[in-house]
Symmetry: C2
Subunit: 275 residues, 2 copies
């Protein structure tokens, strides 16, 4: 079996299978032999906002305090058990709204965690990476009963986290950093209309770099080019950025152009930046 030398078995030349099972009988959940491992979702919700202690911007994540055992009173990622009638992304959005009040954040699946020692109840957690612009967070006034807080990722080592959430967060931060290189993910962390300086700050905060390592002038050129090209270039794609006006100057210095992201969030950029 599976020996490549055996007489060829060709599923693609067979006749179609017997019948379509819709809600066919006989398929119950219970395996009988072992207890089931329940599925849950958890969220790593990030934003980039002024650091509470430093002067610069910082990547921050939402933590909630657990109100029930295990790990009662500990800080943890928001999340909860998956319900019978919802998809994973629906559950993620529901838990995010319920525990933090944030609605409409960008959501994408990060990974799943199912080590049997991670949770005494044997839970398998599907973890979502969520991103929201800092400006949008203030608007949410719908406060649930949960205690929630933003924590800069450089302070995470000082906060004991429940379950394996410290490891999950480490992976989330790593993924976020690497996706900056080849995806449009950063546009989820700035307001709908933004200056290139704002976008630049997001890159600096997430990559934890100084202005020296990533000169602003080159950054502007690179991202400014994303607004060039015709709206329909016939073969490729339309430019993902559009100039929509000028920001008013709120201090000294020349006012910046305002941009709008008009590409699809899931799209990967063909370009690859080494930073």
């Amino acid at each position: 079996m599976l020996d490549r030398a055996e007489p060829a078995r060709r599923p693609w030349d067979e006749e179609p299978p017997p019948a379509e099972p819709g809600g066919a009988p006989g398929g119950q959940a219970a395996p009988g032999e072992w207890p089931l491992r329940p599925a849950a979702v958890e969220l790593c919700l990030f934003t980039v906002a002024p650091h509470p202690e430093d002067a610069r911007d910082a990547l921050q994540v939402v933590l909630v305090r657990r109100g029930a055992p295990p790990f009662r009173g500990w800080w943890a990622l928001p999340g909860g058990l998956l319900r019978p009638d919802e998809s994973l992304s629906q559950a993620a959005a529901r838990e995010l709204a319920a525990e933090t009040g944030v609605i409409g954040a960008h959501l994408e699946q990060l990974a799943s965690f199912g080590d049997p020692t991670r949770d005494p109840r044997g839970t398998v957690s599907v973890v979502y990476l969520a991103l929201v612009a800092a400006a949008r967070v203030q608007l949410r006034a719908a406060a649930p009963a949960t205690e929630a807080a933003w924590v800069p990722v450089d302070q995470l080592t000082r906060v004991p986290l429940a379950f394996d959430h410290a490891a999950i967060l480490a992976l989330a931060v790593e993924r976020l950093r690497s996706k900056l290189k080849y995806s449009n993910i950063a546009f989820e962390l700035v307001p709908a209309r933004f200056t290139l300086r704002q976008l630049y700050r997001v890159y600096l905060a997430i990559l934890d770099r100084g202005e020296r390592q990533l000169p602003f002038s080159n950054f502007v050129r690179t991202f400014g080019r994303l607004a060039e090209g015709s709206v329909d270039d016939g073969f490729g794609r339309a430019p993902p950025l559009r100039v929509v006006g000028e920001a008013r100057a709120d201090g000294p210095g020349r006012p910046a152009r305002l941009y709008e992201f008009v590409g699809r969030p899931g799209d990967e950029r063909r370009e690859f930046y080494r930073w």
Copy 2:
């Protein structure tokens, strides 16, 4: 709550939480209100091997025939329910060995699927991407009771698949293609000692390209460079490839060098190839 203007709440300045719950009481699995959604693992095991009809190599995937409802008699991805005492990757390795006899394949998590309509039992599937060199498959003689077959991915549209497995496979193929660009994943699909021509064939098969679109001579230069550099360059990493000899000529033409991959499979390449 979560308003950034509220009086600062600083989890990282708090005293540590009360006590560590090891196997603390009170944490049982039952939520009481809804039935649990069980967790399972499924596998997309790929190899690159001669196409059964064409002359060229082809990317192929393992399918198994389901012996129980739902979808009894249909072709499906190998997989099964997660057991209480195992991690996700252990379950993936166990199911792979049980259903296909393949041991020691490269395993990495692909994504999880939990749409409530995907399975009448409400299963949430954590799907693994698995890769194995074709030369290693023949060696497995431990044949289980399951019926299994290799199917070239270009024939998948002709095979009706159980559940949402067609969508899962589409994602897996897309991920495999995109990871070729920036990861060391292709080395999992060639023998331990390989020629650059063998590696080249893997790239052509997965990307579904001809020799024109990706000239062999440039491929050789690019990957040959991966074997250059000192073993310890002090700051960066050691070269991920090493020349280990010459292949004997089994036909006309100059014999090729044999290479060995000595990097870590999970490592991402700093280089980014556009093909």
